[in-house]
Structure formats: structure tokens, C-alpha cells
């Protein structure tokens, strides 16, 4: 059952331990082994950017186009990273766009009522966590298929928003002069501040994934649920927590998106469903659960964000965007397939 020897240690099996430091323990080797998928995704990004730069050096050697991407990619990062956790746990969440819209709506209502945007942020996060818990509990305790149940929840929550607001958006002009605006969506050294928050989120999530019991349990549950049960891991609670994390991420995404646009729309979040999911898989997290990569997911989000900007920037018409979007997704999936081995 283990005949397919992994390429990295095919040759040295059965030899006597003689070396002072184990060859597999070399720091460079360990880094590569631990980050195979993320490095593969990074290679895709480098190749893609090289093509763009070659196609139109004038546009792609200017800071402006990068600044444009750095303005929008943070919102995607808050969605993509928690999705990596859910997919690794062997589930999927399609309800995050509505959770994002819903949480941002609570933020908008609090600010519109004249309260501080910080209070609005707290309200949004509480809403996101609660909705995430609700969706997760529905999937886990009613034993529903997460694919279908979260799709249903997405429609239902969006429906509640549409019914309640009758499709009207909320303009939050009071945000523009606020301190929250300069902290969360200002500009420092030419870089949008939301990018720093998003980066901090990525680093924190990466630690959570690789250095925390939660991340370890998420991987084990996605890998072998029976084994996790047998060894005393509360599988249901781990799954629900993963959905809560998605809810929190969606709330942050909604908050930042509303801060950036100074307006909340009833459709807020809708456009992120497919790009965010694509980013997870382009990033190198496989569909089968048990393994995933936060760093890869972040780079995946960057790739997906750049495709749109890049195609137009490279001088092609907007009609090409979808085609290249699909092409890059397929090519990176093929690349990951070749780069990763699925152990059974």
C-alpha cells in the first residue's frame, strides 16, 4: 500500500543512520518539504507576472497597477484564508458571501446610527461569528452536506438582506474623516493600510494552521475522521470552529470592503464566491481534505486578483479576462497535481 515511494527519499531507505544531522532535517530541505504547494503557487505567480511584464513593461513596471491590486486583494484574503481551514477539514462553505454582506450590513447600521466605527467592527465580527456558528452547527449536527447546506444558507441570508433593505444601499459618508478610515483603509508609504491588516491576518492564520492545536485537529479531522474520533478529538466541535472562523473572516472582509467604498450595498460579497474558492485551490489546497496551505492560499488570492488587472493592463480587451482566469486555474491545478502526492 505504500509502494509509490515519495521522490524525496526513494534512494536512501534502509541505510544505517550514520550522519550527525539527519539529511531530511537540513533547514532548506525542511522548508521545501513543508512548503511544496505554496512554493508551486509562488512559481505560478512569478511566471504569470513575467508574462505580464513582458507583454506590457510600461504598465507593469509602474507602482500604480500594484497599488490597485493591493487595494482590493485584502478583502479577498480575509475570505480565502479561513476557507483553507474549512476545505482542509474536509468541508466546504459557500455561504461566506452572504455572511460577508450580512456582517457588513450590521457594521453599516451601527455607523449609520451614529456610533463609532470601532463599535461597528465589533458588531460585524460578532455577527460573522454567530452566522458562522449557525451555518456550521446546521451542517455538523444535522449531518447535512456542507456543499448544499451552505449554498442554501447563502441564498437565505442574502434573501433576508434583500427583504429587509428592499435593495437599498447605505452610504456612510461620516466614515471619510474618521480615524478608523485612516487606520483601516488609509495609505502609508504608498501602500493601502488594509494590506498590512490582511498580512497580519495571513501570518496569524498561518501560525494557527501550523503551530496550534486547532490547525492540527483541522488537518486530522479532514484526513481521517474515524481516527480522530477514536483518539478523543471532538470532531464536531473542530468542524463548527472552522465554520466560525470563516464567519469571522467574512465579517472582516465585509468591514474592510465597506471601509474602502464608504458605502454598503445589499449585494456586498456576492462577487467573491467563485474567485475566493478558486484562490483556495489555485493556492495548492487540494479538494480531498487533510492538507492545505495558508501561504499558498494567500498567493492564490494574489494570482486571481492579478489576472483581472493584468489582462486589461497587458492591453487585451476585458473579454479575455474570463478565458485567462480559467486557463490559469486549470494550469495551476495541473501543476499542483504533479507537485503533490496524495497519501492513502
Amino acid at each position: 500500500m505504500t509502494d509509490a515511494a515519495p521522490p524525496q527519499n526513494a534512494g536512501d531507505k534502509g541505510m544505517d543512520p550514520a550522519a550527525a544531522r539527519h539529511p531530511l532535517e537540513h533547514p532548506v530541505r525542511r522548508f521545501i518539504d513543508a512548503n511544496r504547494a505554496a512554493l508551486g503557487t509562488f512559481a505560478v505567480l512569478v511566471v504569470m507576472m513575467s508574462v505580464f511584464i513582458a507583454a506590457n513593461p510600461h504598465v507593469f513596471l509602474e507602482w500604480n497597477i500594484y497599488r490597485a491590486v493591493l487595494t482590493t486583494v485584502p478583502v479577498a484574503l480575509f475570505l480565502v484564508i479561513p476557507l483553507v481551514f474549512v476545505v482542509t477539514a474536509g468541508e466546504i462553505d459557500l455561504s461566506f458571501p452572504a455572511t460577508m454582506g450580512f456582517s457588513a450590513w450590521m457594521f453599516a447600521l451601527v455607523v449609520q446610527a451614529g456610533f463609532s466605527p470601532y463599535l461597528g467592527l465589533a458588531a460585524a465580527m460578532a455577527t460573522g461569528a454567530l452566522l458562522g456558528f449557525f451555518v456550521g452547527a446546521l451542517v455538523v449536527y444535522f449531518r447535512l452536506s456542507s456543499l448544499i447546506a451552505t449554498l442554501g444558507m447563502n441564498f437565505m441570508m442574502r434573501g433576508v438582506i434583500q427583504i429587509s433593505t428592499e435593495g437599498k444601499s447605505i452610504a456612510l459618508l461620516s466614515l471619510t474623516p474618521s480615524s478608523a478610515k485612516s487606520i483601516f483603509s488609509g495609505v502609508v508609504f504608498g501602500v493601502p493600510t488594509q494590506m498590512f491588516w490582511a498580512l497580519a491576518f495571513v501570518v496569524f492564520s498561518s501560525l494557527l494552521f501550523n503551530h496550534n492545536q486547532f490547525g492540527a485537529h483541522v488537518k486530522i479531522v479532514g484526513d481521517n475522521t474515524d481516527s480522530a474520533w477514536q483518539m478523543g478529538i471532538d470532531v464536531n466541535s473542530v468542524r463548527v470552529k472552522a465554520f466560525v472562523f470563516v464567519g469571522l473572516g467574512a465579517a472582516l472582509a465585509g468591514f474592510f470592503s465597506t471601509m474602502i467604498n464608504v458605502t454598503w450595498w445589499p449585494t456586498s460579497g456576492d462577487g467573491y464566491l467563485l474567485p475566493a474558492l478558486a484562490s483556495v485551490f489555485v493556492g495548492g489546497t487540494p479538494t480531498w481534505g487533510g492538507v492545505g496551505t495558508v501561504t499558498g492560499g494567500a498567493i492564490g488570492a494574489l494570482i486571481v486578483s492579478f489576472i483581472q488587472t493584468g489582462i486589461v493592463g497587458a492591453g487585451l480587451s476585458g473579454f479575455y479576462v474570463q478565458f485567462f482566469n480559467g486557463l490559469i486555474i486549470i494550469l495551476s491545478l495541473i501543476g499542483h497535481r504533479w507537485n503533490q502526492i496524495r497519501y492513502r
Binding site: T2, N9, D12, H211, S227, M231, G232, G290
Partner: protein, 262 residues
Amino acid sequence: MAERLIELRNITKSFGRVYALGGVNFSVDRGEVVGLIGDNGAGKSTLIKILAGVIKPTSGEILVRGEPVTGWNAARSREAGIETVFQDRALAVQQSIVRNVFMGCELKGPLGWLNLAKEAREAERLMREIGFTSSAFTPRSIVGQLSGGERQGVAIARAIYRQADLIILDEPTTALSITETNKVFHFVRQVRASGRSIVFIGHNIHHVYTIADRFVVLDRGKVELEAKRADVPSAEALIGFMEAVAKPNRNADRTLREGGAT
């Protein structure tokens, strides 16, 4: 001489009107390897599930270190130091050896932050203890890269980490090559040398004969033979005994006992 770790007295288990076990006596001493053999449906699985506390016996008595226990269940079994390594091996194969050894019992600090360095050291120590070392892998290697015998080593290391005094190995050598089987034997001997006990269940009588100190043959819910290794001349004698026991013509019933060496 040796301390009696666990003793089952006159255990019966019925599922509806079907008796899976009909009055079985079974015991394990400290530091011994008991080979549990029997055909499919003999009651082996039922017996080890009772030991693991997963199912409750219909009647009978369970003694841990000489003391009778009541309310036997999975938690009690674990407290008594019994760990079962089931056939499917119960490993998360896409995770590292460390993650599997500490599965559900991670070494963590505040807020669940893992002490990865300490886990790696501890895992290395456990692996050395059962003679599970190689230049081909480290505690950080992915279990999926290991061979079948080595995966048994991971499961055994985990059982030892969980303070097991008795490790039940459910068909650990099934579908393994000779080299891999020898690796498992090596781990089992190391575990025995450390004073722990093992119940070794197998369909391959040669494997069980090679490794066990004592044999218990189950057939249709009854113990048909219990013999020390010194009293069994060869694996063939065991096989012959089992064939005789398994014959559908059993009107001579218990007289077949002589086929063994009790």
C-alpha cells in the same frame, strides 16, 4: 510470578439470540505476548472489543490487576492502560509521525499553541524505545511515506505515549511482506522488553507462533486451547489443531482437544 494485568472470567456476549462468546476465560500477564487466534466469527473481535470497553459483556467478570471492576467502558479500559491498534491502523496518513503520535493528546501551551520542538524530541524518544528508527524518515516525515510495518510502529509508539500497559494489535501483519512483518515483530519484542504486554491477533498462524509467548485459540465463542509456547511443538501443530476444531463434524466435540498439547 508475573503480575496479572487483566483477567476476564466466564465472559459471555450475546447479540440477540446469537452467542458471540459463550463463557470465555482470558488473561494477560505483565510483559507477555498473547497470540489470539481463531477463524472468522470465532469471537476474536468481540473479545478485543470487550477488552477495549467498546462493547459490554452480557455476563462475566473483569479484573484489572486482581481487582474486580464494575462499569467497564472505553474510558475505564484506557485508565487500565489498554490501547487497541485496530486493523485499519487508525492513522492520519497525510500527517507527520509527530502529529499521529500526539493525536488528541498534543503537547501544548496556553491557547493551544503547540510545543513542536518538545513533541519532536518526545516522538524521537518513543520511536527509539520500540526500535523504530531509520535514516529514511524522521519524526517529521509524513506517515503516508512509510511502509505498512513502519505504520504499525507509529501506532504502537502512540499507544506507548498514551501510557499503555497492554497493547492489542488487531491483525498487524495482515497484507505485509516478510520484511515488513519482521519490522512489526521487532517492535513487539521491544515493547515486551520494556515490560508491557501485547495481545497479538492474526490469521497467519506462523506469524503468531513466531511472536507469542502463549496461545489462545477461539472457536465459535469458546476457548478451545490455551497453551504456553513451550508446550506447542510447532506452528504446524497449531494449524492442525485449528483444522480439527474447525471441522463441521463435531459430534465428538471436546475430544479434539488432544490435537493440541494442553
